[in-house]
Symmetry: C2
Subunit: 165 residues, 2 copies
């Protein structure tokens, strides 16, 4: 029951696209992601918080090869929607812990965040599910991130358990 994390995975073929201060009203998410889908851009993470204001920020990740096209597509839609800015960054990588029942184990995500904090690694993006906690960090930090997270959970880096990040 204690060891819920079974693996650590990472992905360096990641780039992020952020749409800042986009109107927070129905139809906005649809406009952006249908435009990307129409161009067959595969989107990995989609992350959006709310500020309970007129606008909010959205972020998604794509493969590095798709970044230039994704940027072009999103900039066009963002302009029509009146978003303040579109930011892209391919100097990122994803590190994830994979396990089961993480919701009922509040310390699990905290332990991952602690490992990264102690290694002085900034967490740029967080997205979670019951079986996975994913963080985007600076690309040059990812191998260190993978190492310290393995250590934090007592996992061997030789462990082939890890699935996709």
């Amino acid at each position: 029951k204690d060891l819920v994390v079974t693996g650590v995975a990472h992905d360096v073929n990641v780039a992020k696209v952020g749409i800042l201060d986009v109107p927070d009203r129905p139809g906005v998410a649809y406009r952006i992601f249908s435009a990307l889908a129409q161009e067959a851009i595969n989107v990995d993470m989609i992350v959006q918080t709310t500020k309970e204001q007129q606008t909010t920020d959205m972020l998604f990740s794509v493969s590095r090869d798709d970044l230039a096209r994704a940027k072009e597509i999103v900039e066009a839609v963002a302009k029509e929607l009146g978003a303040r800015d579109v930011i892209v960054n391919d100097n990122v990588a994803k590190v994830s812990i994979i396990g089961a029942g993480m919701v009922s184990n509040p310390g699990v995500a905290a332990r991952m965040f602690e490992a990264l904090a102690k290694a002085d690694i900034n967490i740029q993006v967080i997205s979670t599910s019951e079986i996975k906690v994913s963080c985007l960090v600076r690309a040059e930090d990812v191998l260190k991130a993978v190492r310290v997270v393995h250590e934090a959970f007592g996992l061997s880096q030789a462990d082939p358990e890890a699935g996709a990040a």
Copy 2:
């Protein structure tokens, strides 16, 4: 290959906590979520984007019963960290599509967003994984959201397939 979405799930026992304009530097996520873990608060979704500025916004969800305590804990930590604000809202519910291989199907999330957009339902929070796209919407919109998302994916609402939201 076409029908990747196998179920629609929802959860009304959800409340959200947002920490706005929190310093975007190592250790912040750890401080917040270890404080919650120490009080045994189960956290469901954790969502954070980056603005590539000095600060960013973080958001997480808890059960309704835990909201008051979570607010108290987070307000204390947020104050120490110098965050601008903590917002809470229990007038929300979660709706999710569950499937497989959604990453390689860019139109899947877009189709869910389209259904919600056409029903004039605002999407407050988005978090995704390869097997799930979850949205937080206003509580009074959730049953309509579940219905229109079932329809968008040609699923019957009698289908017991849906797992946890």
